[in-house]
C-alpha cells in the first residue's frame, strides 16, 4: 500500500515538474523544477531497490550538474521579447522536430507491443549475487566483467576534461598573480622596519 502511494507521489511529481521545466517562463525557475524532477526520479530509484543509483543521481545531477546549469542560467541576461520574436521563423523546424519525436514514440510503442528484442541468452553471469548490497553488486561487475568499458569511460572523461581546459585556457599578461610561496616565505623582520623620525622630518622609505 505504502509502496503504491510513494510510487504515484514520486511519479506524478517527476512528470509534473518535468512538464513545468519546459513550460516555465523564467529559465531559473526551469532549472529549479528540473532539480525537483531529478530528486523525485531518485525517489523512484529508491523504490525499485537501487539506492546506490539514487544517491549517485542526487550527488552527481542535483549536486553538481544542476548547480552548473543554474550558474550559467543566472549569469545569462535573457531577453524574452527577443526570444519570442524568432518564434515564427523557427516554427517549421520546431514542428519538424516534434513530428520526428512523435513518430519515434509511435514506433517505439509498436515495437514494444510486437515483443522484446533478442539480445543474448541469459546465462546468469550478470545477475545480482544473492544477499549482496547494491554497491557490492555493481562493484563486482564493474571491476571484473566491465573493467575495460569502465576504464575507457574514465579515459574519455579525462580527454573531455583536458579538452575543455585547453579550449578555455588563455595566457593573460595583464594580470598580476599571487606568488604564494614567496608570500609564505616572507618574515616579519623583512617586511617591517622600525624608524624613529626626528620631529618635523619625514621618513625616507
Amino acid at each position: 500500500m505504502i509502496h503504491v502511494i510513494a510510487f504515484y507521489l514520486f511519479a506524478v511529481l517527476t512528470v509534473a515538474s518535468g512538464a513545468i521545466t519546459i513550460l516555465a517562463r523564467n529559465p531559473v525557475h526551469s532549472v529549479l523544477w528540473l532539480i525537483l524532477a531529478f530528486f523525485n526520479a531518485a525517489g523512484l530509484m529508491v523504490l525499485v531497490g537501487a539506492e546506490f543509483i539514487a544517491m549517485l543521481l542526487v550527488i552527481v545531477y542535483v549536486g553538481a550538474v544542476a548547480v552548473l546549469f543554474l550558474f550559467v542560467v543566472m549569469m545569462l541576461d535573457i531577453d524574452f521579447a527577443e526570444l519570442r520574436a524568432g518564434f515564427v521563423r523557427y516554427f517549421p523546424f520546431g514542428a519538424l522536430v516534434a513530428l520526428v519525436l512523435l513518430a519515434e514514440i509511435v514506433l517505439g510503442i509498436g515495437a514494444y507491443r510486437a515483443g522484446a528484442l533478442h539480445l543474448g541468452t541469459p546465462d546468469g553471469t550478470a545477475a545480482t549475487p544473492v544477499g549482496a548490497s547494491n554497491i557490492e553488486a555493481i562493484g563486482a561487475l564493474l571491476y571484473s566483467r566491465y573493467l575495460f568499458l569502465f576504464e575507457s569511460a574514465g579515459i574519455v572523461l579525462l580527454v573531455a576534461m583536458i579538452g575543455a581546459i585547453v579550449l578555455t585556457h588563455r595566457q593573460r599578461s595583464d594580470t598580476r598573480g599571487q606568488n604564494v610561496r614567496k608570500q609564505n616565505m616572507r618574515r616579519p623582520d623583512e617586511a617591517t622596519v622600525n624608524v624613529r623620525p626626528e620631529v618635523g622630518k619625514g621618513v625616507q622609505l
Binding site: 525557475h29 546506490f52 544517491m55 542526487v58 550527488i59 548547480v67 543566472m74 548490497s133 554497491i135 604564494v180
Partner: protein
C-alpha cells in the same frame, strides 16, 4: 520502537509510520534546542578568547540569550524586497533549514540509536549536503541584489570545491571499513589501532585525512577562517543580507545545525562515534550516547577556537587550498590507502 507500537495493537504500517515520526521528533527537537545552546556556547567561547564576558544578562550566566534572540526575531516583521523573486525568496531559507535537519537521519547516536540504518548512509550524507548549496544560491539570486548574489556565487563555488576533496577523504574511510553504513564504519573502528584505540584517527595513514576533513568541514560549512560568504567588509552580510525575521533565523539555525553535523561526522568517521576512546570493557559502562555527545562538543569547541584565533582567508587562497593542495593530496591518499590495503590482504 515499531514493535512497541505493534504491541499496542496497531498494524505494521501504522506502527512504522508512528515510530518514524516519533524518531524524527526525538532527533529534531533536541537538535533545535542544542543549536540554541551551541550558539550561546559559541559566543561564550569566542568572548572568553577575546577576554570579554559574552552574553551574561538574560538568565543565569546569560544561558537564555539564544531564546531571547529567537523571540526577538520571531516578533519582527518579515520584509520581502519588492524587486525580489518572491516564491524562491521565501522557499530558500526553508530549503537550507530542511536540508540541515535531513542529514541527521543517518547519524548513529548509539549502537541502535539511528533513525534510518541504511546501507548507503555516507552517500546519503553527501547527497544531502550537496543539496545545501541550493538554499544559498536561491537566496542570492532571488534577493535581486548585488551583494547577496556575489556572496551566493562565492558560497556555492566554495562548497562545490571542498565537496570534491571531502568525497576522496571519505573514500579512504570507506575503503578501510568496507561499508557505507555509518554504524558499520563506527564498528570497524573498534580496537582499530593496536587492538585498543577506537578510531581511525590514530591510524598514521588516516590521520592526515582527518586533518584535511576537519579543515574541509570548516570550508564546507562556511565557518571562520573560510567565512568569505559573509565577509562583512566587502559583502555587507552575505547571501542573507535581504532577509529579516524568521527567514533570517532559519539561515542562522541551519548554519549551526550544519556545523554540528560536521562535528558529528568528524566524531563518527574518525573518532569512533559512540564508542569510547579506548577499547576497555569498563569504559562501555558509560552509554554510547554520552561518548558521542562529548566528541561532538569537543569538535564544536575546536570550531569555535579556530573561529576566535585564525584570520579570514583570501578568496584566491581558499580556492588554491581546495583545488591545488587538498584535491591532489586526498587523491594521492586514496591510492596509498588502497595500495596498502591490497598489499596487506585487507580485502581477502
Amino acid at each position: 520502537m515499531t514493535s512497541f507500537f505493534q504491541s499496542l495493537g496497531m498494524s505494521y504500517e501504522w506502527a512504522w509510520g508512528l515510530s518514524t515520526i516519533c524518531g524524527i521528533l526525538l532527533i529534531a527537537l533536541p537538535l533545535m534546542l542544542s543549536v540554541a545552546m551551541i550558539i550561546y556556547a559559541d559566543r561564550k567561547i569566542w568572548a572568553a578568547m577575546a577576554l570579554r564576558r559574552g552574553p551574561n544578562v538574560v538568565g543565569p550566566f546569560g544561558l537564555l540569550q539564544s531564546f531571547a534572540d529567537g523571540l526577538k526575531v520571531f516578533l519582527q516583521e518579515t520584509i520581502v524586497p519588492s524587486a525580489a523573486n518572491k516564491g524562491i525568496f521565501l522557499i530558500a531559507p526553508v530549503v537550507t533549514f530542511t536540508v540541515a535537519l535531513m542529514a541527521w537521519a543517518v547519524i548513529p547516536f548509539n549502537s541502535n540509536g539511528v533513525l534510518a540504518n541504511i546501507n548507503v548512509g555516507l552517500l546519503y550524507v553527501l547527497a544531502i549536503s550537496s543539496l545545501g548549496v541550493y538554499g544559498t544560491i536561491m537566496a542570492g539570486w532571488a534577493s535581486n541584489s548585488k551583494y547577496p548574489f556575489f556572496s551566493a556565487m562565492r558560497a556555492s563555488a566554495q562548497m562545490i570545491s571542498y565537496e570534491v576533496s571531502i568525497g576522496f577523504i571519505l573514500i579512504c574511510v570507506v575503503l578501510w571499513s568496507g561499508t557505507f553504513n555509518l554504524n558499520g564504519i563506527v564498528m570497524a573502528q573498534k580496537g582499530h589501532v593496536f587492538g585498543i584505540i577506537n578510531g581511525f584517527v590514530a591510524n598514521p595513514l588516516l590521520f592526515p585525512m582527518w586533518v584535511m576533513f576537519l579543515i574541509s568541514g570548516m570550508a564546507e560549512t562556511g565557518r571562520a577562517p573560510f567565512d568569505l560568504t559573509e565577509a562583512e567588509s566587502e559583502l555587507v552580510a552575505g547571501y542573507q543580507t535581504e532577509y529579516s525575521s524568521m527567514a533570517f533565523a532559519a539561515y542562522w539555525l541551519g548554519e549551526y545545525a550544519n556545523v554540528l553535523l560536521m562535528c558529528a561526522l568528524n566524531a563518527t568517521l574518525f573518532w569512533g562515534g559512540w564508542l569510547p576512546p579506548l577499547d576497555i570493557p569498563f569504559l562501555y559502562i558509560v552509554p554510547g550516547f554520552v561518548w558521542f555527545l562529548l566528541k561532538v562538543l569537543f569538535f564544536f569547541f575546536v570550531f569555535s577556537w579556530v573561529k576566535a584565533t585564525v584570520p579570514r582567508y583570501r578568496y584566491d587562497q581558499l580556492m588554491r587550498l581546495g583545488w591545488k593542495i587538498f584535491l591532489p593530496t586526498s587523491l594521492l591518499f586514496v591510492v596509498i590507502v588502497s595500495g596498502y590495503l591490497m598489499a596487506t590482504g585487507h580485502f581477502a
